[in-house]
Amino acid sequence: MALADAGRGARPSISWFNNPTYRSLAIQAVVLAVIAAFILWIVNNTVTNLANLHIASGFGFLKDRAGFNVATFLPFTADDSYGAALWAGLVDTLIVSALGIVIATVAGLLVGIGRLSQNWLIRQLSTIYVETFRNIPPLLVLFFWYFGVLAVLPNPRDAIAFPLEVSLSNRGLIMPMPLFGGGFGWTVAAFVAGIVIAFVVSRWARARQMRTGQQFPTFWVGLGVIVVLTAGAFLISGAPLSFDVPVKTRFNLNGGMSVSPEFLSLLFALGLYTASFIAEIVRAGILAVSHGQTEAARALGLRAGPTLRLVVLPQAIRVIVPPLTSEYLNLIKNSSLAVAIGYADLVSVGGSVLNQTGQSIEVVGIWMVVYLGISLVTSLGMNIYNARTALIER
């Protein structure tokens, strides 16, 4: 009787030791306490060590004179501050990453489609490309471009000449520098206006096609508007553009503008290495679109080109975008390899600052915050794009 009462009545009494709620609270308390103690121990040690080394912590050093010179895209001299140096490094990181992403995406898309081509030779060449670059370290690709290719190019005097006064030598790519005269702003304004008009036309054309089914040569009209407007404004404002052409002297080429071999090596290494991964993502994305879609498109009378462009790729994009985002992030993080060849990116400049000031915690902190920030912004942008292309169900 008592037993039955116990079963029906209040919850069976269990020892507090076995109560899941208390247990989880206790475990969390222990974990957090251990981590807090660990961090406290580290902070304590660090403070003692810094005091022994006579290093003042804090970000005051960012205002001090840098005293070292690096070639960056932003003008930077030794008289500028450490903060300016890090800023210039960040800009260099962003420039090389952005251009690298463009190269990697275009090359990856081509190679990825090439791996599925009906053409045997193209398929084999694409496979060789992917399997080669995927299986060697990016640093090796970088060294290959820097030491194996660009360093053994001829001197500027015997540079390999390309059309339009562009030449390639062991000093990098040297080309004429455009000099913009007054009034060039009109040309830029006309170019922007052309793009806006082309955009408006394309929206109108799409709406009309949805309504009436009539097609409109959007691409050619848009291109025509942009070219005519820009060229017209350029000519009317008196062609305010001249070029500073590099001149060959005894040992060197003077004038013009040059792109450093460090930048070129890093750009090609990042672009071609990442392209091999993007190619595999593109291939997987295309294969993920069911074959029935292709067959249905062909049955409707679409040719191979429009089938790929209008039916397969829009569906493949949905599969491609998430892994593509992480490849972009990898490329941005790999741009820190610049430190190995002396391209002045954030890590490379930060390393110099760190060596001069000894402010290792602050510099590493800046690195982490900046890279985490870049990662966050990139994922945010790609997530917005992904949400726009994702399949909308009900």
Binding site: S24, I27, Q28, A29, V31, L32, I35, I42, N45, T46, T48, N49, L50, N52, S117, Q118, N119, W120, L121, I122, L125, E131, T132, R134, N135, I136, P137, P138, L139, L140, F143, F144, F147, G148, A151, V152, L329, K333, N334, S336, L337, V339, A340, V347, G351, L354, S360, I361, V364, W367, M368, Y371, L372, S375, L376
Partner: protein, 380 residues
């Protein structure tokens, strides 16, 4: 009757089958193959011709450089400076010992070789699915071999002379860094993945922050942190070996990536498995150890191997904090005046690429093999 007979004589009835005609020449044989695979459509033909032109442009110079014009033997750079000389393989030959062992003291190099043999003895049976005693094998790979290996390589006990870690280098250092990264990242990754999926917010937040921070920054910054900040974190007077600092950085970095791979596996195990395990009264750790993890890890073996490939390639970055693994050793030997020629860098890098490629390609083939093996019956 005979009437009919005489009538039928006028007809011809074929007694045997007609001989099979060969298929049209344009649809079979080499010509058919060419038409189908290279010249199916006009645009395809254009692509093929461009491809053939590319091969003709690229392949003969490459072969000439790497094989026909290459210098295979020689004691100094003189053999490689001749005009039009190809790859300087003599350079790789002369420095081969250094590329494999770094500056590891010469009479002690047998220890490195024994280390390689013991490592292969653990890894090869583990990789072959039909070999029994996987549990004992894993124990050897994760616990016993690292201890034996450390004693063997560092020395200082059992009459083995000590070899300082600053002398380690070349392929041997690459493999040591990669192996330590793999062996530490797997258990740590499992713990982090479990923590990330835990119902306890305190544990979850700690694990998520660690994973996301480690994955959000480049390995180089982690290595810089390990090499310049770790000494600051320790009590004054305690110093750490440089190699050990790099190993800690690489292992923690790899663990974060491993955790995400294993989380994928944990999420792929059906919920019924968790509920079934709880219903038979298993505790959390029993459930994970006996029911969930064996299934989860089996699903993500390809992903784990891919992480290992990434880790193996990333070992080359320890060069930046001043440890000379294979790529760093080769890079440093460019400056050796005895061998400095225009072809030396390209040759050395070609050799390094070949070594990395063999390891990584082998691992990726293994990953594809497991994927096929685990994928039976799910293909369309």
């Amino acid at each position: 009757m005979s009437d009919i007979q005489s009538q039928t004589d006028l007809f011809f009835v074929r007694q045997e089958l007609a001989p099979t005609l060969p298929p049209p020449r344009t649809a079979s044989g080499p010509i058919g193959w060419l038409r189908k695979n290279l010249f199916a459509t006009p645009s395809n033909s254009v692509l093929s011709i461009l491809g053939i032109l590319f091969v003709i442009w690229a392949l003969p110079p490459l072969l000439r450089w790497a094989i026909f014009d290459a210098q295979w033997t020689g004691a100094t750079r003189d053999v490689c400076v001749a005009n039009g000389a190809g790859a300087c393989w003599a350079f790789v030959r002369a420095n081969f010992g250094q590329f494999i062992f770094g500056r590891y003291t010469d009479p002690e190099r047998w220890r490195v070789l024994l280390f390689f043999v013991l490592m292969a003895a653990g890894l090869v049976p583990l990789a072959i699915p039909s070999v029994p005693h996987k549990g004992l094998n894993a124990l050897y790979v994760i616990l016993i071999f690292p201890i034996i290996g450390a004693i063997l390589l560092v020395g200082g006990v059992f009459g083995l002379p000590e070899v300082e870690t600053s002398l380690w280098g070349g392929l041997m250092l690459t493999i040591v860094v990669a192996y330590v990264g793999m062996v530490v990242s797997l258990p740590l990754g499992v713990i982090l993945a479990l923590g990330r999926r835990s119902k306890m917010p305190g544990v979850r937040i700690v694990c998520v922050s660690f994973i996301e921070i480690a994955r959000g920054v480049p390995l180089i910054t982690v290595l810089f942190m390990a090499s310049v900040m770790l000494p600051l974190f320790l009590p004054p007077g305690v110093t750490f070996d440089k190699l050990l600092r790099a190993l800690i950085g690489v292992a923690l970095f790899a663990s974060a990536y491993m955790a995400e791979v294993i989380r994928g596996g944990l999420q792929a195990v059906p919920k019924g498995q968790y509920e079934g395990a709880q219903a038979v009264g298993l505790s959390y750790w029993q459930m994970m150890r006996l029911v969930v993890l064996p299934q989860a890890i089996k699903i993500v073996i390809p992903g784990i191997v891919n992480t290992f490939i990434g880790l193996f390639k990333d070992t080359s970055l320890v060069y930046i904090i001043g440890l000379f693994e294979l790529l760093g050793t080769v890079r440093n030997s460019f400056a050796n005046p005895q061998w400095a020629t225009p072809e030396t860098p390209a040759t050395g890098l070609f050799f390094t690429a070949l070594v990395f490629w063999v390891f990584c390609f082998g691992m990726s083939q293994y990953s594809q093999y497991t994927e096929r093996r685990l994928n039976t019956g799910h293909k369309r």
